[in-house]
Amino acid sequence: MTKAAPRQAAHWQVFKTHFVEPLGRWIYIIPLLIVNAVVIIIPSVSGILYAFTDWNGTTEANFIGLDNFGRLFQDAVFFRAFINNVTYTGIFLIVPIAVGLLGAYLLAGIRHGQVVYRLLYFIPYMFASVINTQIWRYLLHPKHGVGAFLADHGITFLDFAVFGRRSTALYGIVFVDGWHTWGFLVVLYLAAMTQVDKELYEVARLDGATRLQQFRHVTLPSIRPTLIFSMLIIFIGTTLVFDHVYILTGGGPAHASEVMSTYLYTQAFENFDVGYAASIGVILALWVSVPLSIFYVLRRRGWQI
């Protein structure tokens, strides 16, 4: 009895330090981990597994190896969707970023009214996709919109159904999405530009640098981390784009504005080809992870990007 008591106490001590005390800390994060596991991690792992099956969502699934991926590489619609995504991303990396940089640089150079401009530019970014599409479906309507207005004044290049033509549907969608995004970039870049050391501009000015040269040699290098980061989030956002395409054209006409996400959606929820849809999801995840991993590896190595 007298011998066992301290041993039990020791056991209790071990139990307490290795179980009770950690539990008292972990209990704060366990609910968060469970919800994340249920909503994101478990379904993501299932998604990867489904990609190697021919499952239709209800009956038995068969393991079919890489067949879904083989099918994808021969699927002309998927190829079209991939090219459309690349086009989407390419335009987005140029136009909204250029407008964002222009707006931010000009805003950084004024003293009065900065707050009001920033406010106006940022409002469209707060809008849901259904709002942006409501606004621009009207403004790009051949009968009521800007095109009709211009046509009344003799300028007839925009008085047609932008979203109804195979040659213009995708660009119309990119435009609407870009209108929604550029103001956010202005605000993002402006915040970075106001951090730039004023003396650098002073020195450049004394050296006789023009405004363009100052922008090129002082502003751009100074905000590079923010710029690179914005390109990364644009790459991800445009690769995964769904809402604007689904609402404006549904990927049509005749797949002209199809993107990978809308194609995945059709395969999963209209054709019930769950395995095939899952393989598109895997390709999307891989494609997004390329710049993401480069970014993190370079950051880890201490690159100032």
Partner: protein
């Protein structure tokens, strides 16, 4: 003198900035103006000010679009998501920031990159899982999904807030024998409320606007939130611009008002990711 003489004029700046403001603002103004026009007037005067302000579109949208119901649904879903996310992320962030967890750094890293797992990878299996759980066409089901989607970001945001709080308060409390819960409830939470407000705004805005999961997981018209409710409305009354514009105005008015009041916090929260870089 020399310096001011070399300063550039800001007039060209204002010309371009006003053009940009026009591009951002005019489409919104036209959306609002057309919400107050009759269909006949939209035909005659598609882009200008309404000659007479009509409110019928709003009352009609309220009745035929069942806006009372979908607004209530949106408030329930958004409110539930904000509360759920702040509880999950707030306590999780506290554990990551202040309680020494083994593997805590790894978890923090997960919450940083966890937001970049594309929904396209998991939406289909999640749908099947939710079907088996009987959570399709329930608002609770969508709220749980939104909590899962927004909690990594909120956790990261709140963690960085809590890490920056001064150590002394907590040390003093610990010396006095305070428990983890006491420290969380009476020291961390009151001190990090600005972080909670910012997180609530970002999470609230994204669930108010969310479309993909809402259109997939809630198909029953009486359960739909405003984003997919408006989408259904647009498809049904696509030619009635006054009516659908009124529906859109009802959806964005609360956002614009809230934004005008809490502008700084919205901008801070939504650009957080960018500024950290």
């Amino acid at each position: 003198m020399l310096k001011s003489g070399r300063e550039h004029s800001t007039i060209p700046n204002h010309v371009i900035l006003m053009t940009l403001a026009f591009i951002a603002f005019m489409p919104i103004a036209i959306l609002f103006m057309n919400a107050f026009k009759t269909t006949a007037e939209i035909g005659r005067n598609p882009l200008g000010m309404p000659s007479e302000w009509h409110y019928e579109n709003f009352t009609e949208a309220w009745e035929v679009g069942r806006y009372g119901t979908i607004l209530r649904n949106s408030v329930v879903i958004t409110g539930g998501t904000i509360v759920g996310t702040l509880i999950l992320a707030g306590s999780g962030a506290y554990a990551l920031a202040r309680l020494k967890l083994r593997g805590g750094d790894l978890l923090t890293f997960y919450f940083l990159v966890g937001t970049s797992v594309p929904a396209q990878l998991f939406i289909v299996p999640l749908f099947i899982m939710w079907r088996n759980f009987g959570l399709i066409n329930t608002q609770l089901g969508l709220i749980i999904i939104y909590c899962g989607l927004s909690s990594p970001f909120a956790t990261y945001l709140l963690r960085s807030y809590m890490v920056s709080l001064p150590e002394e308060f907590m040390e003093a409390a610990r010396v006095d024998g305070a428990t983890n819960w006491h420290i969380f409830r009476h020291i961390i939470m009151p001190l990090s409320w600005p972080g909670f407000v910012t997180a609530a705004l970002v999470v609230g805005l994204s669930s108010w606007n969310e479309f993909l999961f809402a259109v997939t997981f809630l198909t029953d018209p009486s359960l739909k939130p405003i984003s997919t409710g408006l989408f259904a409305f647009q498809s049904r009354y696509s030619r009635d611009w006054g009516l659908t514009n009124a529906g859109a105005v009802i959806m964005i008015l609360p956002i614009i008002i809230l934004f005008l009041i809490l502008q700084r916090r919205f901008v801070e929260g939504l650009t957080q990711g960018g500024l950290k870089a």
